[in-house]
């Protein structure tokens, strides 16, 4: 349950219990007083009635004397019973009360007769007759019910007001918490300049101050990291750039040399061949280094067009002379993408598969909703699971002992290109079964 709601409920309960206790207390006091008053009045009336009773020997005249005074009378005397109304008779007189009266005492008891509440006061008259007076307490009960209802209603209103006030208070109290939570979210999303307003000198103020100091520290740390990374990337780009001029010379020299390598004396021929192939390796490395630093610098642009990946993939495999070694299963999949980058991705993935997985590489192209899925699978030795997360890192080689032909940048370049096209490359591998790269565009 949110803290705000708990706070609201706690406030509501505190106010509610207090108000209920107050209401109950006043109800009990008022009820007690009203009932005591009622007994007091009834007893006084009963005493007077008993005093005047001996003046009326006949029971009907006695009842006549009492008539219209607001109570009913039941009498017992001389072996007979008399009553002023059919509604109450001797049967209605509680036995305990009769016992007390027979002992000669004035006593009272509350009794309900046919749904009507009575205060029954009884006593012996001086002529020996027992007289019982039934005073109706309906009015009193009604007043108490009204009072109870008023108190309950009031209590309800107080609880409701307490809930509202509690909710408002909780919101105001917890506003800094809500703000901090929003701020933390925006920090997490990368808005490092997010700060909290420092209001007042209370605990929340101190907290906001601490939060801001944390955010500032975080910001400067991340800035420093970004700077370092940018410096590192710039250095990579600069190195690649500076290597290009001597490399251009090397590549030119090697390509000219390769035309004459056949006519070289045997002792210089092999070194020349190795030189030529090493220059090729160096060239690929530098070009890929330049490419990855351009990609990472975000300096690359995308030229989108409608491309059928099925025919584009077939053309890529054909142009590289791989169509004999790779089995292509393709259904037409037209997407808007950059064909040059797509070629880069596919040729890197397939080249990688051919290098590590040997022959028996399968490429599958199929459309998938708005996009397309391209799978490159080999049946090679597979990649141990601990290497999978780093597979797309620069210069990462699953097996350092195995000197591959690749620069170690191919998969990183493929992944960067895929991201540039709004896609992603995923890898699945099972040692002994093979490796599958899945490109989603």
């Amino acid at each position: 349950m949110p803290f705000r709601r708990r706070l609201t409920i706690a406030f509501m309960l505190a106010v509610g219990v207090g108000a209920a206790a107050l209401a109950l207390g006043s109800y009990v006091v008022v009820r007690h007083n009203l009932r005591a008053d009622s007994v007091h009045t009834a007893a006084r009336e009963a005493r007077r009635n008993l005093e005047i009773a001996p003046r009326y020997k006949r029971s009907d005249t006695l009842l006549g004397a009492y008539e219209g005074r607001g109570f009913e009378t039941v009498g017992v005397g001389g072996g007979q019973t008399f009553q002023s109304s059919f509604s109450v008779g001797l049967a209605a007189v509680p036995t305990e009360l009769r016992r007390l009266v027979k002992q000669g005492r004035l006593a009272y008891q509350r009794e309900t007769v046919a749904g009507t509440h009575y205060l029954v006061v009884g006593g012996p008259a001086s002529d020996g007759r027992e007289l019982y007076f039934f005073f109706s307490e309906q009015g009193l009960r009604h007043e108490l019910i009204v009072l109870r209802n008023i108190l309950l209603g009031g209590l309800g209103i107080v609880v409701l007001l307490a809930a509202l006030t509690g909710a408002l208070l909780a919101r105001r109290t917890l506003r800094p918490v809500a703000q901090a939570s929003l701020a933390a979210h925006s920090l997490a999303e990368g808005l490092l300049e997010t700060r909290l307003p420092v209001e007042g000198r209370d605990e929340f103020g101190a907290w906001a101050q601490a939060f801001n100091e944390m955010a500032a520290a975080l910001e400067s740390k991340i800035d420093a990291l970004n700077d370092a990374q940018a410096r590192e990337r710039r250095f990579t780009a600069d190195v690649a750039h500076e290597l290009r001029t001597p490399l251009t010379g090397l590549v030119g020299e090697a390509s000219l040399l390769s035309e004459h390598v056949e006519r070289m004396p045997p002792e210089s021929r092999r070194p020349a061949e190795l030189l030529i192939s090493d220059v090729g390796r160096l060239r690929r490395l530098v070009e890929e280094l330049m490419e990855i630093s351009r990609l990472e610098a975000g300096a690359e642009s995308v030229h989108d067009e409608e491309v059928d990946l099925a025919s584009a993939t077939a053309a890529i495999l054909r142009s590289r002379g791989w169509d004999g070694r790779v089995r292509l299963t393709a259904e037409p999949a037209v997407v808007t993408t950059d064909p040059r980058r797509y070629e880069r991705i596919v040729s890197n993935l397939v080249g990688n598969a051919l290098e590590h997985g040997g022959d028996g590489v399968d490429v599958e192209v199929r459309s998938d909703g708005d996009g397309a899925v391209v799978e490159v699978a080999d049946r090679g030795p597979g990649i141990p699971p601990e290497h999978l997360p780093h597979l797309f890192d620069r210069f990462y080689k699953a097996d350092p002992a195995r000197a591959g032909q690749g620069s170690g940048l191919g998969l990183a370049i493929a992944q960067e290109n895929a991201r540039l096209l709004g896609g992603e490359i995923e890898v699945w591998s099972e040692p002994g079964e093979g490796t599958r790269f899945t490109l989603r565009l």
Binding site: G249, L256, S301, H303, S319
Partner: protein
């Protein structure tokens, strides 16, 4: 053969090996290591094609290209660094016919040069195309607009000829790359776009609202005099 090339490249080693390679491919080569000096060479001699590096001391490759295009339609192939994508676009806009990125293999450069040179060879068997006041003569390698000759580079001329030979047909950039630039799969479509812009600037009355060479969005270009 034996075309005379001007190579302007500042790095001595690259200049020497490129000269050597081009000579072995059968060209006559004059080499220069400086932009200003290269331009001077160009004005004094007569060359069939210029191979131009972008980064040059005293006067950069763009400036040299701009100066050459001021009064000459001699084909230009730029040597650019692929890191500077901007270079490619600027070079093409200034009128370069093709480009090769460093580092390059010599056979690659030779192939590009030969493809560009082939464009400037007249094809006498073709008839004169006359459309909407535009007179294209493949034999004489000339284009006249309203009787006045328009100076086109070989690339621009070949592009116009390919488009105008089949009016109303839509040409994809890839097809034009193959027909005009001799590129196979995946050449740089910016070559086409830049050449079309240059061509429009020369033959259209209002290059912003072309009446002859129309863009077919997402596909390519179409020649249609309306």
């Amino acid at each position: 053969m034996n075309e005379h090339l001007l190579l302007v490249e500042d790095d001595a080693s690259i200049r020497e090996i490129t000269t050597l390679g081009l000579e072995q491919a059968g060209f006559r080569v004059t080499a220069s290591g400086d932009g200003r000096e290269g331009l001077l060479c160009f004005r004094q001699g007569s060359f069939d094609l210029v191979v131009l590096d972008v980064m040059l001391p005293s006067l950069d490759g763009f400036e040299v290209c701009r100066e050459i295009r001021r009064d000459s339609q001699t084909p230009v192939v730029m040597l650019t660094a692929r890191t500077d994508l901007h270079d490619v676009v600027v070079g093409l806009e200034l009128g370069a016919d093709d480009y090769v990125t460093k580092p390059f293999e010599l056979p690659e450069l030779v192939a590009r040069i030969k493809a560009v040179l082939r464009r400037s060879v007249a094809q006498p068997e073709d008839r004169v195309i006359d459309v909407d006041g535009l007179e294209i003569d493949p034999g004489a390698f000339t284009v006249k607009r309203g009787g006045e000759e328009v100076a086109l580079t070989a690339t621009e001329f070949r592009l116009l000829l390919e488009l105008a030979r089949r009016p109303k047909q839509v040409f994809t950039r890839e097809l034009l790359l193959e027909l005009v630039w001799n590129y196979g799969y995946l050449g740089d479509s910016r070559l086409v776009d830049a050449a079309v812009q240059r061509l429009r600037a020369k033959i259209e009355e209002d290059p912003k609202q072309p009446k002859l060479i129309h863009t077919v969005r997402g596909v390519g270009y179409r020649f249609d005099a309306g």
